[in-house]
């Protein structure tokens, strides 16, 4: 394979097309073209510049990761953070342990909290109905030790469930922010660059 400027730019462009917006892609291509131009003026060869920049595949991968993390930071969504995490895995297999595993654990934890909140919110009114039925002395529905206490505890269960769901939202926001910072730190450690793309 020829290791010249055209080939480098072609590979870089093809790897980044569809991921980055056109303007941002043109800027990056322009930067790398300029880098080759300046290098050649200083007497360096294409091969030498290619080696100093690193392979266009690696460069494209790093740029893509930085872009997706920045995108996830700017536009909060499950899809964006998921794409950012998956892209980060491409930087090294060890990120299966350092990125994917904590991400999955976090997701499971948030899911469990959410399920608990939903269960409390749903079961609260159900338990309330059972309390009323129990007060009507229908033994088949006697689930409470004391139906009068059951009425109040049912109300408490419902409001606690709603609190958990709302709290879950803020907790998810907090962990989203932490995850973005962690991904940035991870990228900077691996690539040795600051993630500001």
């Amino acid at each position: 394979m020829l290791q010249n400027e055209q080939e480098y730019i072609r590979i870089l462009r093809s790897r980044l097309e569809g991921t980055l917006p056109r303007e941002e892609l043109d800027d990056i291509i322009s930067d790398y073209t300029e880098h080759f131009t300046v290098g050649k003026v200083n007497g360096r060869t294409d091969d030498d510049l290619w080696k100093s920049l690193g392979s266009p595949e690696d460069v494209a991968r790093e740029i893509r990761v930085m872009h997706l993390v920045k995108k996830a930071e700017d536009v909060r969504s499950c899809k964006n953070i998921f794409h950012a995490v998956i892209a980060t895995l491409g930087l090294g297999l060890f990120n299966l342990v350092f990125v994917l595993a904590p991400f999955i654990l976090l997701l499971v934890m948030l899911l469990v909290i959410f399920i608990i909140g939903v269960l409390f919110t749903i079961l609260g009114p159900v338990a309330f109905v059972y309390s009323v039925l129990q007060l009507m002395e229908l033994p088949a529905f006697a689930i409470w030790v004391s139906p009068l206490a059951g009425i109040f505890i049912s109300i408490g269960m419902t409001s606690l469930g709603l609190l958990i769901i709302i709290g879950e939202y803020y907790l998810a926001r907090f962990f989203y922010h932490v995850a973005i910072q962690y991904l940035k730190w991870n990228i900077s450690v691996i690539t040795g660059t600051e993630c500001t793309a």
Binding site: V75, W144, V145, L148, I153, I155, L163
Partner: protein
């Protein structure tokens, strides 16, 4: 940047700016916290004040009814040299099983499956000459239903097979099974309330006995040995009466080959509104 915020995080934007007639998200949260705390305090306070939350090992401090049987509480009443026994069982609500096979030298052994604080019966015994009397009583829960409901209550009672006994069983709500074929009965009185009752006197080889069975709302099944010399006097109530292997003459039901000249097992059944099934097997 601020103009972009709603697009970037729409839910946060709407939640943060939720305003329903002055009801902000902060107020909603504060109300929810207050409702949660107050509700739990009142709910568990009622349980604590009404004595439903006992800090003992068998109580799980749960506001829900216990659905599983608790650790059984077994009591053995020794014969203490008595040659006969009078046993009275009174249960308000719960399931009871009575059978033979009490331990040697014991008139009765009972195992109660219930909470430690609730459902435990009062067991009294005394000896009068050669006769020992045992009463095991637990009536219905005295507490108001608004504050308390019945917890599961199961009794397993084993009676001596070696001495003759007078057995008096009063049942309220709940099912009961009396397997008395191995006992030596002098008399048997069973009063059934709302539950189903099954009395099994098959293979009975003790002395002749007199039995009175008062059936209430629930169904009654009475099984006797076909070879026994048994006569059943039936006072019919509202429910159906089914018989199997028994000879009927007016209100009397007898086993095949019944001979009034021989010692007779007399059973009087007073039917309530439950159905009765008589079987001679």
């Amino acid at each position: 940047m601020n103009a972009q915020k709603p697009d970037n995080d729409r839910l946060a934007y709407h939640v943060g700016r939720l305003n329903l007639s002055g009801l902000t998200m902060t107020r909603v949260l504060l109300w929810l916290v207050a409702i949660t705390i107050v509700s739990f305090v009142i709910g568990f306070g009622i349980l604590a004040v009404s004595g439903e939350l006992h800090p003992d090992a068998e109580n799980k401090m749960s506001p829900f009814r216990q659905t599983a049987a608790f650790s059984p509480n077994t009591t053995t009443i020794p014969l203490g040299g008595a040659a006969a026994g009078i046993i009275g069982i009174t249960m308000g609500a719960g399931d009871v099983t009575i059978s033979g096979d009490a331990p040697a030298a014991a008139l009765m052994e009972s195992t109660v499956f219930s909470t430690a604080s609730k459902g435990q019966p009062e067991i009294l015994s005394f000896v009068n000459g050669t006769e020992k009397t045992v009463t095991m009583i637990k009536k219905g829960n005295d507490n108001n239903k608004w504050f308390s409901d019945h917890t599961p209550n199961n009794w397993e009672i084993r009676v001596s097979e070696t001495v003759p006994v007078d057995l008096n069983v009063e049942l309220g709500a709940g099912d009961s099974r009396l397997e008395l074929g191995s006992l030596k009965l002098d008399s048997l009185i069973v009063s059934n309330g709302a539950g189903d009752t099954e009395i099994d006197l098959r293979h009975y080889h003790g002395g002749p006995y007199h039995a009175e069975i008062h059936n209430g709302v629930g169904d009654l099944t009475l099984r006797i040995d076909q070879t026994s010399n048994t006569r059943i006097l039936m006072h019919q109530g509202v429910g159906d009466i089914d018989t199997s292997g028994i000879v009927q003459t007016n209100e009397n039901y007898t086993t095949p080959g019944f001979n009034p000249a021989l010692p007779v097992n007399e059973i009087t059944v007073t039917q309530g509104i439950g159905s009765i099934k008589l079987e001679a097997v």
